[in-house]
C-alpha cells in the first residue's frame, strides 16, 4: 500500500511517495512550469520512477497547493495550510508555529497536537511573498540559491524604499548602478520581505518552536532576516520545499487508515497521469 502527496505550488511542484509504514520512497521537486503543460504529472512520473512504482500502485493521493483543485489523478484536495501544518509537525513534533513563505503567498500557522488550529495569510501583493525575491534575483542575474549566501556578506543594509515588487526591482538596478554593493542591497531586500512576513506572523502570535518552511526557507539570508525581525529562534527542515507534499502524503495515509479502520472504502479517482490546470 502506497500513498502520495502532490503539492502543486505556483512555482514548484513537489511529490512525496510513502509506504504504509510511513517510510519515504521518493521525493521529487520540479518546476510547476505552466509554459510546459505536463509538469505536475511529469514530476509525479519521476517520483514513481524513483520509487519503482506504477501510478496504479498508489492507494490514495492527496493534492495540495495553489494548483490542487484540478489534479486529475488525485483523490482528495486539502489546503496547503493543513498539509504544511501536518508536514511540519511530523518533522518537528514540538512545533507550535509554522511560517511558510511560498511563491504566491505567505502564511503563518498555529499547530496544536499535529493539527492546524489557526492561521493568517497574505496573498494580495507579491511584495510579501517569495516572488519578491525571485523577481529581484532574475533582475540581478543571480541564482535564487545564491541570494542568501551573498546577503550574509553584507556590511550594512540598504533600505529599499519602494514597496511594490516591480518598482523595487527598478530601484535595485538603480542602486547597483550607483555603485552600491550587491550584498548590501540583498540584505536590504531580505529585510524588507522579512519585516512584512513578521508583521503577519505577529498577528497570529508566535509560540515556540517556530518552523520556517516553503521554498524561501532554503534561503539562509531570509532565515537570518526572519530571526532578526521576530527576535526568536527558527527551525528549518532539511527540505523545506517538500513539507507541504510530505504533509499531504501523511494525510493521505491517515485518511486511508481511518476509513479502513471504520470499514469504509474511500472513493478514488481513476489514475490518469494528465496535465493539471489551475483555473476551472
Amino acid at each position: 500500500m502506497y500513498f502520495a502527496g502532490v503539492d502543486i505550488g505556483s512555482t514548484m511542484t513537489k511529490v512525496v511517495l510513502m509506504d504504509k509504514a510511513g517510510n519515504l520512497l521518493s521525493f521529487i521537486k520540479g518546476p510547476t512550469g505552466a509554459e510546459h503543460r505536463q509538469l505536475a504529472n511529469e514530476v509525479m512520473r519521476q517520483a514513481l520512477e524513483q520509487a519503482r512504482l506504477q501510478i496504479d500502485d498508489i492507494s490514495y493521493i492527496v493534492a495540495t497547493g495553489y494548483g490542487r483543485l484540478n489534479v486529475p489523478f488525485a483523490d482528495r484536495q486539502i489546503t496547503e495550510l493543513s498539509c504544511h501544518a501536518r508536514g511540519v509537525s511530523s518533522l518537528f513534533p514540538n512545533a507550535r508555529t509554522a511560517i511558510d513563505i511560498g511563491g504566491q503567498d505567505a502564511k503563518c500557522m498555529k499547530i496544536d497536537n499535529g493539527r492546524l488550529v489557526n492561521f493568517v495569510m497574505n496573498d494580495k501583493c507579491a511584495a510579501g511573498t517569495g516572488r519578491f525575491l525571485e523577481v529581484t534575483a532574475t533582475t540581478l542575474g543571480i541564482k535564487l540559491e545564491d541570494m542568501g549566501d551573498v546577503s550574509l556578506k553584507a556590511a550594512k543594509q540598504i533600505q529599499i524604499s519602494n514597496l511594490c515588487t516591480i518598482f523595487a526591482q527598478q530601484e535595485v538596478v538603480a542602486l547597483l548602478s550607483r555603485g552600491e554593493k550587491l550584498e548590501n542591497i540583498l540584505a536590504g531586500l531580505h529585510d524588507a520581505l522579512a519585516s512584512r512576513v513578521a508583521a503577519l506572523a505577529r498577528r497570529l502570535g508566535i509560540e515556540p518552536d517556530l518552523v520556517l518552511t516553503g521554498g524561501v526557507a532554503k534561503n539562509i539570508g531570509m532565515v537570518k532576516a526572519m530571526k532578526e525581525s521576530l527576535g526568536c529562534e527558527i527551525l528549518v527542515p532539511e527540505e523545506p520545499l517538500l513539507t507541504g507534499a510530505l504533509g499531504a502524503a501523511i494525510l493521505a495515509k491517515e485518511t486511508y487508515a481511518k476509513a479502513a479502520a471504520a470499514g469504509e472504502t474511500l472513493p478514488t479517482r481513476s489514475r490518469r497521469l494528465e496535465k493539471a490546470t489551475f483555473f476551472s
Binding site: A199, R202, R203, L204, G205, I206
Partner: protein, 447 residues
C-alpha cells in the same frame, strides 16, 4: 565647519511658547499627581461634554488618542501596534486605538498593572474608569469597550447626538437634544460621584463651565483675527496652542490669561501688517490632523509663499454663544457642546450644503478666510478625518472655485506621508491655484 541650521521661515507667535509650555507642564504634573495617588481617567476627546465635570471633580484625565500620537512620534508605537495585531485586532482599525489596546495589553497582561518602562512621558497609568464618546467616530466608543479585555474598569460612553442638517430644524428638535444631553450628564455626574466616592462641588462646576466657555470664546476671537491679510498666525501656532481649549489642558485661569496674551500679540501683528510668513502668496486651509512628525514640511511650503491661515473644523472652538443666562451648569455645558456640533447648521442649510457636520465649515472658512487652496491630508486609519474630504474638495471647487491638493498619510504609520512627494506636487498645484484665482475673479468672488 559651518553647521547648517534648518531654515525656519514661519514667524511663530511669542505668546504661543508659554501656552505650549503650560500644556506640556500640566501633562507631566498630572502624571505626577496620578502617581501620587490621584484618580486618573482615560478620556476620549468628547467635544466639551465630559471634561468640565471631571475637572470640577479634580480628576486627572489622560487622552489615549493624544497619547497614540505621542507614541507614534517617539517611535514606540510599533511594538504596541504589533501587540494589538497579535491579539487579533484587525489592522485597518484606527492606529491610535491599536496603540492603546497594545499598550493596555502590555501593561495589564504582561506587567500586571505596572506602567511599561519604555512608555514615553511617564506613560498612562491604570485608570479608575474610561470615558468614551459617541461623537465623531465609531472607533471612539468601540475602542474603550474593547479595552475591557485588559482592564476591569467601567466604561461610560458619552452620548452625543448626530443630527441631520435639515432635520435639526424640525420644531422641538433642539429641545430634545438638550433633554438627552442634560439628563445624560446628570447621570454621568452620579456615576463619577460613585466612582470617586465624593460629591460634586456644583459651584466649582459652575465656575469651570464658565471658564471653559470664556477660554474658547477668546480662542475663537484669536482665530477670527487670522482673516487679515497677510495672515498673522500660522496653523502651526494653532496646533501648538489648541490643547488648552480643546482638552482643557492645564489650569483654566492660566489658559485664559495666555489666550488673552495671544490675542494681543496677533492683534498687534494685524495692526502692523505682519504676516506669519515673509511673503504670503497663497492662503491655505489645512484639513484634519497634521503630519506631526514632518512639520518642517510647512517651513518648506512657507518658503514658497504658502501661509496656512485656518485648519480643521474639529479642533476649532464653537461659534460663541451667550450662555450667561443659563443657570444650570449642566445645561450650559450641553448647550455649549451642542453648539460645537450644530453651530454651522443654519448657514449650511441656507447654502444647501448637506454633507455633514464636518464638511460645511470648510466652505465657510475658505470663503471668510479667503483661501486659495486646501491641503487635504486623508489618513489611512482614521476614518473620521478622511471620509468627508472628497466631498469637501468637490464642494470647494464647485461652489467657490477653490482647488484642493490631497496628500495621503497616516496617524501611526508615519512613513506613509512622503514630504518629498508632496513638495513635488506643490508646483503644479500653484498653477492650479493661480488658475482658480482668475476663475474666482471672473465669477465675481472677492479673493
Amino acid at each position: 565647519m559651518v553647521v547648517q541650521k534648518e531654515k525656519k521661515t514661519i514667524n511663530r507667535l511669542k505668546s504661543m511658547y508659554p501656552l505650549r509650555a503650560k500644556v506640556n507642564e500640566t501633562y507631566l504634573k498630572s502624571i505626577e499627581a496620578i502617581q501620587a495617588g490621584k484618580p486618573a481617567v482615560w478620556g476620549m476627546l468628547n467635544f466639551y461634554y465630559g471634561d468640565p465635570i471631571l475637572k470640577a471633580m479634580d480628576i486627572e484625565v489622560v487622552y489615549p488618542e493624544n497619547y497614540g500620537a505621542i507614541a507614534a512620534a517617539m517611535g514606540v508605537a510599533r511594538q504596541y501596534l504589533d501587540r494589538a495585531d497579535a491579539e487579533g485586532f484587525p489592522t485597518h482599525l484606527c492606529g491610535y486605538s491599536l496603540t492603546t489596546l497594545g499598550y493596555a495589553s502590555r501593561m495589564m497582561k504582561e506587567l500586571k498593572g505596572q506602567i511599561p518602562p519604555e512608555a514615553p512621558l511617564g506613560g498612562m497609568p491604570k485608570p479608575l474608569f474610561l470615558m468614551s464618546s459617541a461623537a465623531i467616530c465609531d472607533a471612539r466608543y468601540k475602542w474603550f469597550q474593547a479595552l475591557g479585555r485588559y482592564m476591569d474598569v467601567p466604561v461610560w460612553p458619552l452620548e452625543a447626538p448626530i443630527p441631520g442638517i435639515k432635520e435639526f430644524f424640525i420644531e422641538g428638535y433642539y429641545d430634545k437634544m438638550m433633554k438627552l444631553g442634560v439628563k445624560h450628564l446628570r447621570d454621568f455626574v452620579a456615576f463619577v460621584e460613585k466612582m470617586v466616592g465624593k460629591k460634586m462641588d456644583w459651584d466649582r462646576l459652575d465656575k469651570t463651565a464658565n471658564l471653559m466657555i470664556e477660554v474658547n470664546r477668546v480662542w475663537h476671537e484669536v482665530n477670527e483675527l487670522r482673516k487679515a491679510r497677510p495672515c498673522p498666525m500660522h496653523s502651526r501656532d494653532f496646533w501648538s496652542a489648541m490643547p488648552a481649549a480643546l482638552f482643557l489642558a492645564g489650569d483654566l485661569e492660566d489658559s485664559l490669561r495666555l489666550y488673552q496674551d495671544m490675542y494681543r500679540e496677533v492683534k498687534d501683528r494685524v495692526n502692523n501688517h505682519v504676516g506669519a510668513i515673509p511673503d504670503e502668496k497663497y492662503r491655505m486651509v489645512f484639513a484634519e490632523l497634521p503630519p506631526w512628525h514632518s512639520l518642517a514640511f510647512f517651513d518648506k511650503l512657507a518658503e514658497r509663499g504658502w501661509n496656512f491661515v485656518i485648519e480643521s473644523f474639529g479642533y476649532h472652538p464653537p461659534i460663541p454663544l451667550d450662555l450667561s443666562k443659563v443657570s444650570d451648569p449642566l445645561e450650559r455645558i450641553t448647550k455649549f457642546s451642542l453648539q460645537f456640533l450644530v453651530g454651522y447648521f443654519e448657514d449650511a442649510r441656507k447654502q444647501n450644503v448637506l454633507g455633514g457636520t464636518s464638511a460645511y465649515p470648510y466652505l465657510k472658512y475658505v470663503k471668510e478666510w479667503k483661501c486659495d487652496g486646501a491641503l487635504l491630508h486623508p489618513l489611512i486609519t482614521c476614518r473620521s478625518a478622511s471620509t468627508h474630504l472628497p466631498y469637501v474638495s468637490d464642494m470647494l471647487i464647485e461652489k467657490l472655485n477653490v482647488p484642493s491638493l490631497s496628500i495621503e498619510g497616516d496617524i501611526v504609520d508615519l512613513r506613509l506621508f512622503n514630504p518629498e512627494d508632496a513638495l513635488a506636487k506643490a508646483e503644479p498645484f500653484e498653477e492650479t491655484m493661480e488658475h482658480y484665482k482668475r476663475m474666482r475673479k471672473q465669477a465675481g468672488f472677492d479673493w
